[in-house]
């Protein structure tokens, strides 16, 4: 343990400066998480879950906690979606009321600052915060919790159906050339029984900004709730982004979460979904683009705890340059969870000879009457398809782009929010065009 503490030297001082105050229970939560983080230390490549992702560049860096900052509304225009009239903006981990739009909420609904809610909605926040994100086992979740002060809070009362999407926009404000900063955005989403919502989490920073985002989102879906969640990560290509999303799905609820990873130098997304009531359904899909020297790591866990729960998982990656990707999809089927129907697909397209992916399905099945399928397909573009398109007159580059767009399109087409879909397409295709121009030049 002493060794761990030694390695954490600069971090211990930073932890000492963590936020204080607020409710007693919140203070206790932070303190426990801080001590646990010191015990756990940062994971290393000797940890099975971190075998292919070395976080030493984070552990050995000194990040200063991101200071309070103001961001011009104009600068965020590209990242807010016109048909999301309700949004909260979190700048450097702090709720920014002047950029947020939270008026006209249905009675009883809460959408705003987590810090504020931890005092004036303390019964709900106190009941759920930190319940899903396991600070005991997960060092980064513990680190986030130790720093939890503000973030996003969404509470949807029972039976409330929201027809407009909600956006949570997380901004790391910092300019290239400034010392690297870190923020630990925290989100708590509680969707009441039979409620319905579409939620977009977006993470952005200025191009070239060096920073570390360590995000944790907890999503509690009540009985029969329908939640369609999107996470868009388009931070600077010099950013470290570690995030975990923890989902608890009650009986007959339906939760989908779609992850789009377009930015970041080292990105790790953990998604843990517990299907904890009969008939709960989960859909996990994702699309990531890794290029240059970037690393994109996705670890998902779908925990089938109760019978009759279907889960659908499709992840796709496009990897070019010297980039690396990791995909680990774990499916647990508990002894009680008969009639589970779990399907997992992981596909990756390698655009260069130096691009790599490590992929692993992990099935832990303790029930006997279940259906679990998984498949992984890694490779170059399908030569036969390319030839076929070319024999109809499409030039090589056009045929290739058509196939790559079709590959990505399967995931983008799942987006139920039209402006988000268009924005994702535009950003993805622009990045792809740059990457492919490099391939063509080589």
């Amino acid at each position: 343990m002493a060794q761990v503490a030694d390695r954490l030297q600069p971090w211990l001082a930073t932890l000492d400066g963590r936020p204080r105050g607020g409710s007693r229970w919140l203070q206790d939560l932070r303190d426990r998480a801080a001590s646990r983080f010191v015990e756990l230390g940062f994971p290393t490549v000797r940890d099975e879950d971190w075998r292919f992702t070395n976080v030493a560049p984070i552990a050995s860096s000194e990040f200063r906690p991101a200071p309070a900052a103001r961001v011009d509304a104009e600068a965020l225009k590209a990242f807010v979606y016109a048909d999301a009239p309700l949004r909260i903006v979190i700048v450097n981990g702090r709720f920014a009321p002047e950029l947020s739009r939270t008026s006209g909420l249905p009675t009883g609904m809460r959408f705003g600052s987590l810090a504020a809610a931890s005092t004036d909605h303390a019964d709900v926040v106190g009941r759920y915060l930190g319940q899903l994100a396991d600070s005991e086992q997960r060092a980064f979740a513990a680190l986030n919790t130790a720093f939890t002060h503000d973030g996003a809070y969404l509470f949807i009362p029972d039976g409330v159906v929201l027809d407009q999407p909600l956006q949570l926009l997380f901004v790391s404000a910092g300019d290239p050339g400034q010392p690297a900063t870190m923020s630990h955005p925290r989100s708590l989403i509680v969707a009441g029984d039979r409620s319905q919502a579409r939620i977009v989490e977006t993470y952005v920073s200025a191009p070239g900004a060096k920073h570390f985002t360590n995000a944790v989102t907890e999503l509690v879906a009540g009985e029969g709730a329908v939640v369609d969640h999107y996470k868009v990560e388009e931070e600077s290509v010099d950013a470290f982004h570690i995030a975990s999303m923890h989902i608890h799905a009650a009986r007959s609820s339906n939760v989908s979460t779609h992850a789009f990873t377009l930015g970041g130098r080292l990105v790790r997304n953990d998604i843990i979904a517990v299907l904890d009531g009969e008939g709960a359904e989960a859909t996990l899909s994702g699309l990531y683009l890794a290029d240059g020297n970037r690393l994109v790591d996705t670890h998902t866990t779908i925990d089938h705890a109760k019978p009759h729960c279907p889960s659908h998982e499709v992840y796709k990656g496009i990897i070019g340059g010297n980039a690396r990707a990791v995909f680990n999809g774990k499916i647990i089927v508990r002894q009680d969870a008969q009639k589970t129907d779990a399907k997992q697909t992981n596909r990756a397209l390698l655009l260069s000879d130096h691009a790599t992916i490590n992929t692993k399905p992990q099935l832990e099945i303790f029930a006997d009457d279940v259906k679990c399928t998984h498949g992984a397909a890694i490779g170059q573009l399908d030569e036969d398809a390319l030839f076929y398109l070319r024999t109809r007159g499409l030039p090589f580059a056009e045929a290739r782009d058509l196939l790559i767009h079709a590959f990505a399109g399967e995931i983008i087409d799942r987006v139920q929010i039209e402006p988000l879909k268009r924005a994702l397409e535009a950003e993805l295709y622009a990045q792809l065009a740059r990457d492919l121009a490099e391939v063509d030049a080589a």
Binding site: F387, T391, F396, E398
Partner: protein, 247 residues
């Protein structure tokens, strides 16, 4: 239109075509027949520019130009079309999108204005109707989940839209019921004209009842061992390929 001289082709390091000579004029329909493994499909694929087939000797002139010097897509834009024996499934790309892109690539090459979505739709609907092809096919992903017959119809549909100068059908008749066979034949016959040529590669004579060839060539061991008119196909149907191989 097409002049093949001493064409030798290898695939996977194995010699398959051992010197093919074939001359096809505009306005003609040639049938290439032969037993399994004789090199029929290799000839079709090599002409289309399949990367797995290496030409080791010989030359192919297409309208006086060196065909082998052109990329597969250049060959297509110059008017060559091959209907695949095994059409490829392409998930996530609709037939309509694909064919519009293909048609416009060709039109651009010819210096013609590109068709917009509405013009393309009108044209493709008209062609589909002519060939009695379900228009719903346009909005489905290319060949994905298509039955064998649907895939072949789709090939003919593409051919009808792209209006090639030289069409090569690589065993398009295999596995088709009689209705689908007639669709294929109608498509090909609709394309026949003094400025076009068609090469029909087939194992069986049946298709040639509907697409009547001007010439029939028999391939065996990577060479054309016999040429004749349509009566040769009937002879093959009666006697089988044994007498050719033995000869």
């Amino acid at each position: 239109m097409l002049d093949i001289k001493n064409l030798q082709v290898t695939a996977d390091g194995k010699q398959i075509l051992n010197g093919i000579d074939l001359h096809v004029n505009a306005g003609e329909v040639h049938a290439i027949m032969g037993p399994n493994g004789s090199g029929k499909s290799t000839l079709a694929r090599a002409l289309a520019g399949h990367p797995e087939y290496q030409v080791t000797a010989g030359e192919v002139l297409y309208e006086g130009r060196d065909l082998l010097d052109l990329d597969p897509d250049e060959r297509a834009r110059e008017g060559l079309f091959m209907a695949f024996q095994y059409p490829v499934e392409i998930a996530g790309v609709t037939n309509a999108y694909f064919l519009k892109a293909a048609l416009n690539a060709k039109r651009k090459h010819q210096g013609l204005p590109e068709l917009d979505a509405i013009e393309f739709l009108q044209l493709s609907k008209a062609k589909a109707k002519l060939l009695q092809i379900d228009q719903g096919m346009l909005n489905r992903a290319v060949n994905e989940g298509f039955s064998g017959g649907e895939k072949k119809r789709n090939e003919i549909f593409q051919m009808a839209l792209l209006e090639p100068k030289l069409a090569i059908l690589d065993e398009t008749d295999s596995g088709l019921d009689i209705d689908a066979l007639k669709v294929v034949a109608d498509g090909v016959n609709g394309l026949r004209g003094p400025e076009r040529a068609i090469i029909v590669v087939t194992h069986y004579q049946r298709l040639l009842n509907y697409i009547v060839p001007d010439f029939v060539h028999v391939l065996s061991g990577g060479r054309i061992v016999k040429s004749g008119d349509k009566s040769l196909a009937l002879e093959l149907e009666q006697k089988g390929y044994g007498w050719i191989e033995a000869a």
